[in-house]
């Protein structure tokens, strides 16, 4: 039986971690993810988990310790945000190259500089090519559910890749919402035991991990990571199927909200999807055929599936909560449009960089995107495809 509760996103994430009961957690506090290791330390202090909590002196050491622990044969978890993830960056790549299924809760926040503690996706976008599976969560429920599914995906023999569960800093991490929790024993059964094939602590089979890997081998090892990432897509769907059977909650690679007959559509991730759903409903009541595609699985990127889902739409806007500063557009925009191109889908598509540094995203802004799309459908004129949403201009708009 599911249990109805009211929790913040951080509470929900640490609650999931408690139920998963990992062998090792190594973390360093950083706003807005601080509460996760904080709540988790209480579980450790009260003996409600078996975990060794390593209170490291930095995020670099947090990821290094997770790597050491996971390679040793333990289930290791961590949580971080923004500059914490930046400081881990070197180790993020090493974790995935060593094929260690570490699970991280990433509470998205703007990466400095200048310093800002509020939400955008620049932290996650900085590691999008690092070989981690990346799941995004609209609300506390999805952050919780994604974490419950995380180990089953990451530890699958066809995958063996680290995984991060993203949610929006403050917007969902600190907002208390209703949530359905699952029972401890059921979670334990679903997550299962971690039984690594090779691990440092196995005296019967000592192993060496992390070699100097030169021209004759590195290419093949990298191709192996790429192959695992491709295979992860089906594993994610299989695990979601099991999860739905258990909880009744459905998850795919992305969520289509009133998209099947939509003429204009927004593509976005995390909490903005909630705001967009509200606007879609409002526009629908006015007879405007608006829809939403919310990306859940960002890595592996479901390019073909997204292209297909958008095929029938007349105009698309991709919202990026991070600017790539490449004079072309945000990362999600480039991913979506290149996915459409290689799958022969030709729909007028524009990009909005929005919400940077926690800039509020009211429904009126989302509505303005849909009206821009309606204008494009009407005139057939895309204009500038690389736009801002909610940016103050000199004119004081």
């Amino acid at each position: 039986m599911s249990i109805r509760e009211r929790l913040s996103g951080n509470e929900a994430s640490s609650f999931a971690m408690k139920q998963i009961n990992p062998d090792v957690v190594a973390a360093f506090p950083i706003t807005p993810s601080t509460e996760i290791p904080q709540y988790f330390s209480t579980f450790v202090a009260n003996g409600t988990v078996d975990t060794e909590f390593v209170a490291v002196e930095s995020e670099h050491s947090a990821m290094s310790a997770c790597i050491g622990a996971e390679a040793a044969g333990a289930r290791a978890m961590t949580a971080t945000s923004a500059n914490g993830l930046s400081y881990m960056w070197e180790m993020i790549y090493i974790a995935s190259s060593l094929r260690l299924p570490i699970v991280m809760s990433l509470v998205n926040r703007a990466v400095s500089g200048p310093l800002n503690i509020h939400n955008d996706h620049s932290d996650a976008m900085g590691v999008r090519d690092a070989g981690w599976i990346m799941l995004f969560s609209e609300n506390n429920q999805e952050a919780y559910d994604n974490l419950l599914m995380a180990h089953r995906i990451a530890e699958h023999k066809d995958v063996l890749l680290p995984l991060m569960v993203c949610q929006d800093g403050f917007i969902t991490s600190h907002s208390i919402e209703n949530i359905m929790l699952e029972e401890d024993s059921e979670v334990k059964k679903f997550v299962g035991k971690y039984e690594p094939k090779h691990y440092l602590l196995n005296k019967k089979e000592p192993i060496s991990v992390g070699p100097l890997d030169l021209q004759s081998y590195l290419f093949e090892h990298k191709a192996g990571q790429a192959e695992a990432m491709k295979k992860a897509k089906n594993v994610i769907l299989d695990v979601a199927k099991d999860f739905e059977q258990w909880t009744g909650r459905h998850y795919g690679l992305f969520e289509e909200y009133r998209l099947d007959d939509a003429e204009i559509a927004i593509v976005c991730m995390n909490s903005t999807a909630g705001t967009t759903k509200f606007v879609v409903d409002k526009l629908r009541s006015q007879g405007i055929k608006a829809g939403l595609l919310k990306v859940r699985v960002y890595r592996p990127f479901p390019a073909e599936e997204i292209a297909k889902a958008l095929e029938h739409v007349k105009a698309v806007a991709v919202l990026d909560k991070s600017d790539s500063l490449n004079a072309v557009g945000g990362a999600l925009f480039t991913d979506v449009t290149s996915g459409m191109y290689v799958n022969n889908v030709n729909v007028p598509t524009i990009n909005y960089v929005y919400g940077i540094g926690g800039r509020d995203v009211p429904t009126t802004q989302i509505e303005s995107v849909y009206s821009d799309l309606a204008e494009i459908v009407k005139t057939g004129n895309i204009g500038n495809p690389y736009r801002y949403l909610g940016l103050r201009t000199k004119e004081g708009k």
Partner: protein, 316 residues
């Protein structure tokens, strides 16, 4: 501790195999092999290594010199990587997920670059957190793997590729950091200085104490580098002996805060004996540069006296 070192060396199987690619005349592999000899034969070990000469020369895919489990991640985080492995061991052991009768020891190796400099934070963190592990620094006094750049362990006036002895600046202008003292200030149960070749008994005994003392322990082992120091390989043993006989590299240990100098030369030799056979100090012997040797000697004398004082003070 009654034992015969010759028998140990001859009969105990080596846990660090031949065929690695370290230079002839390098101290580091000797340090690694000899320290691992101090492990009980029945014990398993997890060894972490910082990026550096030792790592790249002993574990080039698909070959490894390590017969125990080994992990390398990056340059600055041997200590934190090993912290994680040790935490995993504690956790799995507590949960009954590992055989009760098996014991695993945790040993990290890093050069002075990976220890004194880029890895200092991770090392300090691991020591303060109290993990049951031994960190071994093999100190050859510069970043040798990248081509002899100065480190904070490089002695004053040494000629390195980033502190070259030029017409205006005569080599490195700063004194060497005293890492062993920094580690002692972490109030760990065991910290010691030893050396690669001068006294194998000293290194073996200190390694055994470090590995089998519960909690975080630290060994700083002076290890010569033929390329970086510029000596004839046969001079190796001699240079090591001179390092301790001049008191440039004192051998001592600190057990629960108590200092014990494990070798006091009957006759303390002038430091120029140690400097002379090494090309990195060659410019100090040019006419007009006598002040450099004088200054170097003063620094050695001051530090040696400090150590004698500490020994006296902590054993009152």
């Amino acid at each position: 501790m009654a034992y015969n070192l010759k028998e140990v060396v001859a009969n105990k199987p080596s846990r660090f195999s031949e065929g690695h690619r370290m230079c002839a005349g390098c101290g580091a592999p000797v340090v690694a092999r000899h320290i691992l000899r101090a492990l009980k034969e029945e014990d398993h070990a997890v060894i972490a290594c910082a990026t550096g000469c030792m790592e790249v020369s002993t574990f080039t895919y698909p070959y490894t010199s390590w017969t125990d489990s080994f992990i390398h991640t990056a340059f600055e985080c041997a200590a934190s990587t090993l912290s994680g492995a040790e935490a995993a061991y504690k956790s799995l052991k507590k949960q009954g997920k590992l055989p009760e009768d098996e014991h695993t020891k945790f040993i990290a190796f890093g050069g002075d670059g990976g220890t004194y400099d880029i890895g200092l934070q991770a090392l300090s963190g691991a020591m303060e957190r109290g993990h049951d592990l031994t960190y071994v620094c093999y100190d050859n006094g510069a970043y040798m793997n990248t081509g002899i750049q100065r480190s904070s362990a490089t002695p004053k006036f040494a000629d390195t590729t980033t502190s070259p002895a030029g017409k205006v600046i005569p080599g490195k202008m700063q004194s060497r950091k005293d890492l062993t003292q920094i580690l002692v200030e972490h109030h760990i149960p065991y910290a010691a200085q030893s050396i690669a070749f001068a006294d194998f008994r000293d290194l073996y005994e200190k390694a055994e104490k470090a590995i089998y003392t519960e909690g975080p322990t630290f060994l700083n082992v002076f290890a010569p580098c033929p390329r970086g120091w510029g000596y004839d390989t046969p001079e190796l043993m001699n240079i090591n002996k001179l390092a301790v006989q001049t008191c440039y590299w004192p051998l001592y240990e600190v057990v629960d805060g108590k200092y014990k100098i494990t070798y006091k030369p009957a006759k303390k030799l002038p430091v120029e004996e140690f400097l002379k056979p090494q090309k990195r100090f060659r410019h100090m012997f040019k006419p007009g540069n006598e002040w450099m040797i004088e200054e170097f000697q003063k620094e050695v004398d001051r530090r040696w006296q400090e150590l004698l004082d500490l020994e006296e003070m902590t054993n009152k």
